[in-house]
């Protein structure tokens, strides 16, 4: 397959955008699992909530003939940044409710409960077509600042936008985790009983961590919605919505935000590039099956890292807290 330089660049740019969005989700997971020890396996739920909230806030309600084809409960036609804010707030509020219900569960059960909740959210969106057009999903979502650059260069601009969000979130989490608050979270991860013996309300700190991480995930979801400009419930199935992000964080290094970013880029690179490489080597007639080699590659890499480098590629960073 011949590809022009422009084509390669375009591919790299959209690769970097997706990888950065995943990095944001992985940082959100790092807040939950890496720093507080919360086993959130319902990332997809917050991912979906963020994407759908921002979509409903920023897109206009369909009118005329479109209204017959696209049903959505609301369509506020508000600016992108309000969409992002709404995504963060809705994810955070729902996380608060979920947390109040489930955070007393022991860790493993929390994992299973959150998988179930995320799937229930997805199935709800899928079935209740009045809300956001059911399985067909929403298309033609607004792309921020789309009128200031030519259409074919839009992704370059969007990469800048996503990078800004990634940077801000990265530093916000780094600061938060080095603050006294973050120190309590890490203490909870290490020894919950000690922390509660210190007179701290462990449940409340866990709830805050769940909400904070979920807000980050919600923002990631919103950024995804405006990048792909189309969302369907199918995107938020456990594989791509949750498990792949766990793989990214585990590979990069749990408890390490740089690791979360590196892990996201590596896994997403394996996922999106392997098809190209594989097309060159597979025998004719097998082209349609070749892409699935990436399942094998990522699976093997994940197993290998877990057994040989249980702390991930980077391992956990040492944290010095400010007092």
């Amino acid at each position: 397959m011949g590809m022009s330089l422009g084509g390669v660049l375009n591919f790299l740019v959209s690769f970097a955008i997706m990888a950065s969005i995943y990095a944001i989700l992985a940082i959100g997971l790092n807040v939950h699992w890496g720093y507080t020890g919360l086993l959130n396996f319902g990332i997809a739920g917050f991912f979906a909530l963020g994407a759908y909230t921002s979509a409903l806030i920023t897109s206009p309600k369909p009118v005329g003939i479109m209204a017959n084809y696209v049903r959505q409960a609301i369509g506020l036609n508000l600016p992108f940044l309000l969409g992002i804010a709404g995504a963060a707030i809705v994810s955070g509020v729902i996380a608060g409710v979920i947390g109040i219900l489930t955070l007393r569960l022991s860790e493993g059960y929390l994992a299973i409960a959150t998988i179930g909740i995320a799937e229930s959210i997805r199935i709800f969106i899928n079935n209740e077509s009045w809300l956001a057009n059911g399985p067909q999903g929403l298309i033609g979502l607004p792309r921020p600042l789309h009128n200031i650059v030519p259409r074919c260069y839009y992704n370059y601009l969007y990469l800048v936008i996503v990078s800004i969000f990634l940077t801000v979130i990265y530093f916000a989490v780094e600061r938060g985790i080095r603050s006294p608050w973050g120190r309590v979270l890490r203490a909870i991860r290490e020894d919950e009983i000690m922390v509660s013996a210190d007179g701290k309300n462990v449940f409340f700190f866990k709830l805050q961590s769940l909400i904070f991480g979920a807000m980050i995930m919600g923002i990631g979801g919103a950024l995804y919605a405006h990048f792909s400009a189309a969302i369907q419930p199918g995107v938020f199935e456990p594989l791509f919505g949750t498990f792949i992000i766990w793989a990214m964080l585990t590979l990069g290094g749990t408890g390490n935000n740089k690791g979360a970013i590196i892990g996201s880029f590596i896994v997403w690179a394996l996922w999106s590039w392997s098809t190209f490489l594989i097309f060159k080597v597979v025998p004719r007639g097998f082209e349609t099956r070749a892409p699935y080699i990436r399942y094998v590659l990522i699976g093997l890499l994940l197993i290998f890292i877990i057994i040989k480098r249980p702390k991930g590629m980077l391992g956990e960073e040492a944290h010095v807290s400010e007092f």
Partner: protein
């Protein structure tokens, strides 16, 4: 309604069969095995390979009684079980055992099992492609039962085999020395070691049982629907719900949990869209987790 309950029992029997191996491994090794679903898929496809092989050799082509499948499918149970067990033992040896011995957090082995699931699914796609497959193209005879219940004859076979398998596992665990040792190991691994029970050896037995049930569940599931690469993965979440309902390591719990979920899912279609079926399973599971975290029955005997 009677019809929905009968359908629920059929679905529940398959869920129960699928979940017993899962809860057994969970109880004994602390592994919540995410690859269980894809191992089920492998079981189904292995049987498919042998069925095709028999049909290419032109043997065992006769239909089994009133059922839609031929004798080849029945015979294929044997190699499918063997391969499923061997696969389970290989995976345990190379993935979970090293993790057990390094004292890894149970979540680490859970994530490793996600990796295993992807590897298996990747191979299934590569070898068999994304298309659907069927064990046989035979007509599926329907039986008319009282109360206006329509049933595919195959489903009777499925329920009978599922319950026979479950009963055998139950008897094994309740009556044999190895079965009791497995339960002892799940109950108190430290004391089991002190009593001279070789943990690693018993874990091999547990995988042997799980692998057998996995293959059987895969084939029955394949007879009920059709073979596709995602079949086991999609099936996995209801299995998780069933074993949570039943309580860690409990065979009878998983059995009752599976039946309950199957019936609840089918009966719910009287009021809700069928696409809500999986959500019903999760909502029951979450409610049980919140109100009865040890499962609905608490700790059970087996």
């Amino acid at each position: 309604m009677a019809e929905l309950i009968v359908y629920g029992i059929i679905l529940g029997s398959i869920i129960a069969l699928g979940s017993i191996g899962l809860t057994l491994i969970w109880g004994i090794t602390d592994l919540f095995n995410c690859a269980h679903g894809d191992q089920i898929t492998v079981g189904a496809y292995t049987a498919f390979v042998f069925t095709s092989l028999f049909s290419n050799m032109g043997i065992l082509q006769g239909k089994v009684g009133p059922f839609s499948f031929c004798w080849g499918v029945l015979l294929a149970f044997i190699p499918a079980v063997i391969i499923s067990v061997v696969l389970a033992l290989i995976i345990d040896r190379w993935v979970y055992k090293p993790l057990r011995h390094s004292g890894a957090h149970f979540i680490t082995s859970f994530i490793a099992s996600i990796g295993v699931a992807w590897v298996l699914r990747g191979f299934i796609y590569i070898i068999w492609g994304a298309d659907f497959h069927f064990y046989s193209s035979g007509l599926r005879t329907v039986a008319f039962l009282p109360l206006g219940i329509k049933l595919r004859i195959d489903e009777i076979f499925i329920v009978v085999i599922a319950w026979m398998a479950v009963a055998l596992v139950y008897l094994f665990l309740a009556k044999t020395k190895k079965g009791k040792a497995l339960r002892a190991l799940a109950d108190n691994p430290g004391l089991a070691r002190i009593s001279g029970i070789d943990t690693e050896y018993m874990i091999k037995w547990a995988w042997g049982i799980a692998g057998t049930l996995i293959a059987i569940a895969g084939i029955l599931y394949g007879i009920e629907t059709q073979l596709r690469p995602e079949m086991g993965w999609i099936f996995l979440l209801p299995l998780f719900a069933a074993i949570i309902l039943g309580g860690k390591g409990s065979i009878t719990g998983a059995l009752i949990g599976g039946l309950l979920l199957g019936i609840a899912q089918q009966v719910s279609t009287a009021w809700l869209l069928p696409t809500y079926k999986p959500a019903i399973a999760f909502i029951i599971m979450i409610a049980v987790l919140i109100f009865r975290p040890k499962g609905i029955f608490g700790r059970r005997h087996i």
